[in-house]
């Protein structure tokens, strides 16, 4: 095979790949934010992706109506690791209502299949850095990786709110 040909193929391959593996995703994967379980926390959940074995233990703490902390321990691929990191960055400090809007928008982004980039552009104000995952939406096998920590956060927050409402201490 001619070297030129190989070169050309390589460039197009990497461009395509980078639509999923954005630099921001690789950065968060190499240097995850907010990782490591912390106290205090209002609730803790453990979620697993049975198809690939990715796991996350997620803690959420609330101060009144505000997400005061998100901490986690996780193992998995770059997409799932970066997703947890970006999510924690985005949601800490937001009200539960705002955070839910981000989570729901991210879920819709992941369900957007080939329209990911357009959807991300439209909702950039809500998604902020999470727009980097737009390219993941077209890989059905990887959508669950990106969603793992978001689903764990949703579950943990619901539990924390239930406990607050029923007056039970977590």
């Amino acid at each position: 095979m001619a070297a030129e040909h190989r070169e050309g193929r390589e460039v197009s391959t990497e461009m395509q790949l980078e639509s999923m593996y954005q630099e921001i995703i690789l950065d968060h994967y190499r240097h995850p934010h907010h990782k490591g379980l912390r106290e205090p926390f209002a609730s803790q959940v453990h979620h697993v992706n049975p198809t690939c074995g990715d796991e996350v233990t997620m803690r959420v703490d609330l101060k009144g109506d505000v997400i005061s902390d998100i901490s986690y321990e996780s193992q998995g691929c770059s997409i799932s690791q970066a997703s947890a990191s970006v999510m924690a960055d985005l949601l800490i400090g937001k009200s539960v209502e705002q955070a839910r809007e981000v989570q729901e928008t991210f879920l819709r982004l992941m369900q957007s299949k080939l329209d990911g980039p357009e959807f991300a552009e439209e909702h950039e104000e809500v998604l902020e850095d999470a727009v980097a995952f737009a390219g993941v939406a077209k890989y059905p096998g990887r959508v669950k990786c990106a969603l793992l920590s978001w689903m764990a956060w949703k579950d943990a927050t619901a539990q924390a709110l239930d406990d607050t409402e029923s007056g039970v201490k977590a």
Binding site: E10, T13, L17, Y21, L26, Q75, C77, S78, C145
Partner: protein, 419 residues
């Protein structure tokens, strides 16, 4: 250029496999290294399905019209082919199932239901191994739980071999059945069947062999192996999905109760009670996967045309080459035997800290299809303290050039993730 007289003429063989001619992600030739998950089918197999539905489609063993007779002859002809392929003592010992999982579930269930001396009773022991596919773990867990029997298992050595250090304690007079994988789908290990069969039969236990990864790759002689049941599946040996095989010793199959009830498996039915058909129909309730069975027969013809000894030698040579090249990749660790003795053509590995999903994704972008994950053998990953592996697995059409492509791909993976 690798020259090895053991290699098959893959240029000629690959022409028979239309899927190997296609490209992926634009212009990249497909490098298919996921044969332990499923194999590709030659045109002959595909044609036999087309021909069946074009000319002979009918239900089998019913009706007296031409099509029914042709379909039945083709279906039963495939049974003869499979029986000869594994050197079964009698064609009635070959039962068609949906896949290996169903074949193993069949055995695990009927041994749970059977009367003495074969029936599993509370306190009896069932022995499997830590390197089983989930399909040879879960059916036995279900049976053990239902009956109150005890499930025990062989461990794995650091080299990825079956740990035989406690074989005589593990297989003892309480052992009712030993169910073992012949060739591990994740480690590639070929297990010492003879040793296990000898010990199991010494204590009166039955032996079930999961041959899903051996029937497609090695000459398989069920009589020489000495096991009591052998299970394998069609789609890993050039055939279609939807058909598997259970071979069982005739006296056992005759004595054990049926698995699924329905049409075809009966002799006489009254509203109160039924009597059952003879072998093999007793274990084939309902309309079977007819075209799939016929196509499996064609796959067997194809493999016989090449020769299973030659297939095994080719894969051994490819594995030898791949093991050498993979071990030269910095940061790569093989999970399973690193040498080629008693080894099949599936090689699992981890590459530094890069998650196998990321490895597989980048390889896929380069047209290289590998499997990533726990390969339905999660206890193996737990044993080796890893979440998952990347697995490359070869077959009769695999080439040294494809191994080279994998090595180049792994370099790209490392560069991409900055390792």
């Amino acid at each position: 250029m690798v020259v090895n007289s053991q290699f098959l003429d893959t240029d000629a063989i690959r022409k028979d496999f239309p899927i190997l001619q296609r490209t992926v992600h634009g212009d990249k030739p497909l490098v298919y290294l996921d044969n332990a998950a499923t194999s590709q089918s030659p045109q002959q197999v595909i044609d036999s399905i087309v021909e069946y539905y074009s000319l002979h489609n009918a239900n089998v063993h019913r009706g007296i019209h031409v099509l029914a007779e042709e379909a039945t002859a083709l279906y039963e002809g495939a049974r003869d082919k499979v029986a000869a392929f594994i050197n079964a003592g009698a064609r009635e010992e070959v039962v068609f199932t949906k896949n290996s999982s169903e074949a193993l579930n069949l055995v695990a269930n009927v041994l749970g239901w059977a009367e003495a001396p074969y029936g599993i009773r509370p306190g009896d022991e069932i022995v499997i191994s830590e390197m089983e596919h989930h399909s040879n773990i879960v059916p036995w867990q279900l049976t053990a739980e239902r009956i109150g029997a005890k499930l025990r298992w062989f461990g794995i050595t650091d080299e990825g071999r079956l740990d035989l250090s406690n074989v005589n304690e593990l297989i003892n007079e309480r052992t009712k059945v030993v169910s073992l994988v012949h060739v591990s789908n994740i480690l590639g290990t070929v297990n010492p069947v003879e040793t296990i069969v000898k010990r199991a039969h010494e204590v009166g236990a039955l032996v079930v062999l999961d041959a899903s990864q051996s029937a497609p790759h090695l000459p398989l002689d069920v009589q020489a192996l000495g096991a009591d049941f052998v299970a394998f599946t069609g789609h890993k040996m050039l055939g279609p999905t939807g058909v598997g095989v259970l071979w069982g010793r005739r006296d056992l199959l005759e004595e054990l109760p049926p698995f699924l009830g329905g049409g075809e498996m009966i002799q006489t039915v009254t509203m109160e009670k039924s009597t059952y058909a003879g072998l093999p129909h007793k274990y084939e309730a309902g309309t079977p996967p007819i075209s799939e069975v016929i196509a499996l027969g064609t796959a067997v013809d194809y493999l016989n045309g090449i020769g299973m000894d030659k297939v095994a030698a080719h894969e051994h040579a490819i594995t030898e080459y791949a093991l050498g090249r993979l071990q030269d990749v910095e940061g790569l660790r093989i999970i399973g035997p690193a040498t080629n003795e008693d080894r099949g053509a599936a090689i699992s590995f981890v590459l530094g800290d890069i998650h196998p999903h990321d490895v597989g994704q980048v390889l896929d972008e380069h047209g290289i299809a590998v499997r990533v994950g726990h390969h339905c053998a999660r206890p193996v990953c737990v044993r080796f303290g890893i979440p998952a592996t990347t697995r490359a697995s070869f077959y009769l059409y695999s080439t040294p050039a494809e191994v080279d492509a994998l090595i180049v791909g792994l370099d790209q993976v490392k560069r991409f993730f900055g390792v």
